[in-house]
């Protein structure tokens, strides 16, 4: 069972400001049934540009409902400029604290708020910026980068707790790690050491990487790969199993096999499939 603070429980059992505002000045909707939580936030402004009323509807767990309720209380009486400064951390601290695994509920509040402000300001629905990294939950690299930067996250698990990315099938874990690494390496740029490998060392390392990293991953989908030859920086392989007939095998070859080998062996490698 989760350790919820008394304030979370109170806002869950006695949520404030539930409902809909007709003709709202701002409205923002995030999440979906498939994701397991969703929030629709409404606000109304007075003549001085202050929020006079805020209401919400939430589908989700106790902390999602509590975060939404807290948010509506927090923004009442504030101007939009003030409101725009509210972070997900602010929502969490208003409630005392949220379990680490539930931080995404506070992020959902912040996201709905941003959307509602954009709605008021007549900013067009922003197109999804960036590239979708986590397909299960539709999270982009920009969102992940932001969560990592703002909350100083250091592990994939942290990222999942905050923005859900990586909480589904797990295929995007590698990409998330790259984003985390790139955010943190900005702080102190360090050049990767380049070690010159002998040909024997290189071939050995390629073989090891194939065995340890690549084959197990392909085998999960019933595929396999065979090393045919290494010619300088050209790695000649043959796809086996389901990979041999898979229409996406070229993508797997370039995006997965090649990038993995470049990462773990040498950056100048090129993987090619030999034809029969």
């Amino acid at each position: 069972m989760w350790e919820y603070t008394a304030k979370v429980k109170d806002h869950f059992l006695n949520p404030r400001n539930v409902g809909v505002i007709d003709n709202p000045d701002g409205v923002g909707e995030v999440g979906s049934l498939a994701c397991g939580d969703a929030l629709k936030l409404y606000f109304k402004l007075d003549d001085n540009g202050k929020i006079t009323d805020a209401k919400f509807q939430t589908f989700g767990c106790a902390s999602a409902i509590a975060s939404s309720s807290a948010l509506t209380e927090m923004i009442k009486g504030l101007t939009l400029d003030e409101v725009a400064k509210i972070t997900n951390e602010d929502i969490a601290s208003y409630l005392g604290e949220l379990p680490k695994e539930k931080m995404h509920c506070s992020v959902m509040g912040r996201d709905a708020l941003e959307k509602a402000i954009a709605y008021y300001r007549g900013e067009k629905e922003k197109k999804i910026e960036g590239e979708i990294v986590c397909e299960c939950f539709g999270v982009t690299d920009i969102e992940i980068r932001r969560a990592v930067t703002e909350n100083n996250l250091s592990t994939i698990e942290d990222v999942t707790d905050y923005v859900k990315a990586g909480g589904g099938c797990g295929k995007c874990h590698e990409k998330i790690q790259e984003i985390i690494d790139s955010v943190h390496s900005k702080d102190k740029p360090a050049k990767k050491k380049i070690i010159k490998l002998t040909n024997i060392q290189k071939i050995k390392l390629i073989e090891e990487t194939l065995e340890r990293e690549i084959k197990p991953a392909l085998k999960k989908d019933g595929g396999n790969i065979e090393l045919i030859d290494v010619d300088g920086n050209r790695i000649l392989v043959k796809m086996r199993g389901t990979c041999a007939t898979c229409s996406k095998s070229q993508i797997t070859l370039k995006h997965y096999v090649e990038s993995k080998l470049r990462e773990l062996v040498a950056p100048e490698l090129v993987v090619e499939e030999v034809q029969q």
Partner: protein, 389 residues
């Protein structure tokens, strides 16, 4: 507040009769069953009785019962023993809806050189038997299919599966942690080679389980050590708990009729009334092929953790297949394998009864749950658009 406990597939209370039989073995009767003196020998005799009682519950002989620390240990022991006995075979088969004790073990083995096949289920949670039989091959070392599912309560046709798997000379194991003691389990009819069961699901304490190993099945121990359990599991016996499991097995056997009648009726009442009084609800799993104590109900457009916490305010203890309760983000693998729509998967609640439940408790739940669902739906942005079915 007295809890209304309907989460018996998670764990059960220790029966007072069970505790009573256990207590002397914590205090005055503390001998080691392996000792040569009669002080220890008396303990060994009581363990023998426990073994007979467990065997009787499942139609086995005492020599086929191995005591373990839990269902998970029984599962791991069984699978590893089968793999060690068949070192050249690298294919393993299980279902997509197993308990993590099997599911995660198989996923782990799949990363370590084994080829794992996960047999799908249909929307009613019933196993695709053709798929299973179609995947048996010469390389298959073991098939492990649970007797009954812990979430939906759906019972699999293990008797038929055991026969088909056996005919190919392949080892068959079944995780009967949820079935043993709730429905008749008779190893004279079901030709499984190994079967796992657990004490704390049938009113024995936590920390005790058993593995049935059919006479003649090749076996190798998981815990290597002393000669305890006829050399099949090293480590001094968990004496009091073994005795507890023995008593609990005897009681479960004598309560089987009650389980299939009074408890089943209470479960049916709970289910019927809730699905009738609360709109947009559905029962997960094939209704006629289920454990008599289990009901998984999907309440559309609300989220399970919120339902559980509101029920908790009334002392009602159940569990949920929702993502939020487990810390993962996706609803249970069982509900997903059954293709339960997201609208209901996140709001699925499992009620699981025991012979301790009363009609008053069921009436209490029937009274308290509908307003909770109504209240949460009023909060939900999805409700109004979908309520006019």
């Amino acid at each position: 507040m007295k809890p209304v406990y309907v989460d018996n597939n998670a764990t059960t209370r220790v029966a007072p009769e069970v505790l009573e039989e256990m207590l002397p073995y914590f205090t005055e009767l503390y001998g080691n069953p392996s000792s040569m003196h009669s002080f220890g020998g008396n303990v060994a005799r009581k363990i023998k009785e426990a073994r007979e009682r467990v065997a009787a519950m499942i139609g086995a002989t005492p020599g086929e019962i191995l005591f373990t620390s839990c269902g998970t240990e029984s599962d791991s022991t069984a699978i590893r023993a089968a793999l060690i006995s068949n070192p050249d075979k690298k294919h393993i088969i299980t279902s997509r809806v197993e308990h993590p004790a099997i599911k995660n073990l198989f996923e782990n083995l799949a990363k370590n050189g084994y080829r794992a096949t996960f047999v799908p289920v249909d929307s009613k949670g019933m196993l695709d038997l053709d798929y299973l039989y179609g995947h048996l091959d010469d390389d298959t070392a073991i098939v492990s299919i649970m007797w009954a599912n812990n979430e939906s309560g759906v019972i699999f046709p293990v008797e038929e599966i055991a026969q088909a798997v056996n005919a190919k000379g392949i080892v068959f194991h079944t995780d009967a942690v949820q079935a043993a003691g709730k429905v008749p389990v008779d190893m004279r009819k079901v030709k499984a080679d190994m079967l796992s069961l657990s004490g704390h699901k049938i009113h024995a304490p936590k920390g005790i389980g058993a593995l049935y190993i059919r006479k003649g099945t090749k076996f190798s121990p998981f815990l290597i050590g002393g000669h305890q359990e006829s050399g099949r599991r090293g480590g001094t016996e968990n004496v009091a708990s073994i005795i507890g499991l023995g008593k609990a097995s005897e009681m479960a056997l004598s309560h089987l009729d009650e389980m299939g009648t009074r408890i089943k009726n209470l479960r049916d009442k709970l289910e019927d009334v809730l699905t009738k009084t609360v709109p947009n609800t559905m029962v997960n799993g094939e209704k006629d092929q289920r454990l008599p104590n289990t009901s998984s109900i999907g309440f559309e457009f609300v989220e399970g953790e919120a339902i559980l916490l509101m029920m908790d305010e009334f002392g009602i203890c159940a569990s949920s297949g929702s993502a939020c309760t487990s810390g993962s983000l996706e609803p249970s693998h069982v509900l997903r394998a059954m293709g339960v729509p997201f609208t209901a998967a996140h709001g699925s609640i499992r009620f699981s009864l025991s012979t301790y439940n009363t009609e008053e408790e069921i009436d209490f739940i029937i009274e308290k749950v509908p307003p909770i669902i109504k209240r949460l739906r009023e909060l939900s942005p999805f409700w109004k658009n979908n309520s006019c079915k």
